[in-house]
């Protein structure tokens, strides 16, 4: 895969308390007292956490603890009810205007989304396009690549995910595992610097899981990407991440390297959770 391009946009709302950005590294992420409610139900209450530039972090935790919500906030599929979310040295949901922090407009969100890519649990390929079109539509329409450039990029990515022969196939003709590979390629075609993975193998038949996980592991190793990953698969979490965050009720219960969290968790709640996951 070609090296990742640096963003050229000026740093509008640079701030001294923003996560530092190593030169040439993808941006880090910071949640600062983030609140998210659905009606009466508060899913995240003043959540704080950091992901360093280029760090790969796995979120684990019981169902309904807010893991997906965190990723969806970063992908701008949900909007927060309070707090700040930083990507690099800019806030995602706020922008600076005349020295004041105001809610982001569509243009700001569009700028910020350039850095972020997401792979969904249910793949969500576009059924009205074939595989090639799924991979080129974003680069052509959003990044402004020529069709030839976009197709070259798509071919490289299909080679990478091992589906070069499916280039003209229709998504519905692919197996779940193949669809998820295409979806991964589609996200990478946009050259994101932050990659969000939400239980990307849980909709797959068991025999297809390992292939997709190994592909993602290789991608994570060969590219400089900040990765936020939700998974219940310990082997995958160990392979892909530098650090694991254990969530419960919208708070971080425990964090540490995967070996520690999975090997000798210090919190009872983590132990209970891991036991429950292992039992299934």
């Amino acid at each position: 895969m070609p090296p990742i391009e640096q963003p050229v946009e000026p740093l509008v709302n640079a701030s001294k308390d923003a996560p530092v950005r190593r030169d040439g590294a993808p941006p880090g992420i910071r949640f600062e007292k983030v609140v998210k409610r659905f009606g009466e139900h508060t899913v995240l209450r003043e959540l704080d956490f950091d992901v360093a530039p280029g760090e790969r972090v796995t979120l684990i935790g019981p169902s309904g603890s807010g893991k997906t919500t965190i990723l969806r906030l970063l992908m701008t599929l949900e909007s927060p009810d309070g707090g700040l979310i930083w990507i690099g040295d800019r806030t995602l949901w706020h922008m600076e205007r005349k020295g004041e922090r105001v809610p982001a407009n569509q243009k700001h969100l569009h700028e910020m989304r350039k850095q972020v890519g997401m792979v969904f649990q249910q793949f969500n390929l576009f059924p009205n396009m074939n595989v090639l079109r799924n991979l080129t539509e974003g680069p052509v329409r959003v990044l402004g690549l020529s069709r030839d450039e976009a197709e070259d990029r798509a071919r490289d990515l299909l080679d990478l995910v091992g589906l070069a022969d499916k280039i003209t196939a229709h998504p519905s003709r692919l197996s779940g595992g193949q669809q998820q590979r295409v979806a991964i390629a589609r996200a990478l075609a946009m050259r994101p610097q932050v990659l969000l993975l939400d239980e990307v193998t849980s909709a797959l038949d068991p025999e297809l899981v390992v292939g997709v996980q190994d592909l993602l592991r290789d991608i994570a190793r060969q590219n400089d990407l900040t990765i936020l990953c939700v998974t219940h698969e310990m082997r995958f979490a160990r392979d892909i991440s530098d650090r694991v965050l254990m969530f419960d009720a919208g708070r971080i219960v425990e964090e540490g390297p995967p070996e520690q969290i999975f090997g000798e968790p210090s919190e009872q709640r983590t132990r209970d959770f891991l036991q429950a996951v292992l039992a299934t």
């Binding site: 989304r113 997401m118 969904f120 249910q122 969500n124 576009f126 519905s172 589609r186």
Partner: protein
């Protein structure tokens, strides 16, 4: 019977008027349906209200009342339409209101995940609609659009009441000149039936093409995972 058939130039002309009205009215209805249907999916309440007013008013009215209004009432306040134009307007506005509901419903029926995938690829709101939602919604729209087109074709018969010489009018004229009541009206009904069947064939053909485009209706693969395909 032979006398009735001898007047075939009249029948051909009448059928042509009926077909032309169907196509023109259909084109207008399609444009209105898309415009107001899209308005119905807007984030802005004011734009959605526009959709409601249009739909309730023109769906709630009888086409013939609309036609009479354009033809008899509006000229009195200085708005004069050519008869054909008034007819196309009445038919298009009425069927367009039904179509707008179809468009709105179909767009809303595209799975939300498709919309989110388009956001994740950083498509603009316009691109999401144009590249992802509309093409998928289109497949859902086609069958009801086919029914509406047939209803529109049937609706064109009202123009015979304001002087346009369509199939219905021709049947009445032929009945008057030949006195062959049974034959005249039977021929008219059969011609309408033929037009309706042809329209239906065209719509079916379009449905099959769109289904193929969306990868539906293909022989199922074993362990085929159809998650994410519109409508399942």
């Amino acid at each position: 019977m032979s006398e009735v058939l001898d007047s075939y130039p009249q029948w051909v002309d009448g059928a042509w008027v009926t077909i032309r009205l169907t196509l023109l009215g259909g084109a207008l209805a399609l444009v209105l349906a898309l415009a107001f249907g899209l308005a119905g999916t807007s984030r802005h309440a004011a734009v959605r209200a526009l959709n409601r007013v249009y739909v309730e008013f023109f769906r709630g009215n009888a086409t013939l009342v609309l036609l009479y209004w354009f033809f008899y009432a509006l000229p009195l306040i200085g708005l004069r339409f050519a008869t054909l134009f008034a007819a196309v307007l009445a038919l298009g506005l009425n069927i367009g209101a039904y179509g707008a509901e179809v468009v709105r419903g179909s767009i809303n029926a595209v799975p939300k995940a498709q919309h989110e995938a388009a956001i994740a690829l950083n498509f603009t709101p316009f691109q999401r609609m144009r590249r992802v939602l509309l093409p998928q919604a289109f497949a859902l729209m086609l069958p009801p659009f086919g029914n509406l087109l047939i209803e529109l074709m049937k609706g064109t018969a009202i123009v015979s009441l304001v002087g346009l010489v369509d199939l219905t009018r021709v049947s009445k004229n032929v009945q008057g000149s030949t006195g062959e009541t049974v034959a005249a009206f039977t021929v008219a009904l059969v011609l309408y039936f033929v037009i309706a069947q042809v329209l239906q064939l065209l719509v079916r053909y379009a449905e099959r093409r769109v289904d193929r485009m969306l990868g539906r209706g293909l022989p199922a693969r074993p362990a085929l995972d159809t998650a994410g395909v519109a409508g399942g």
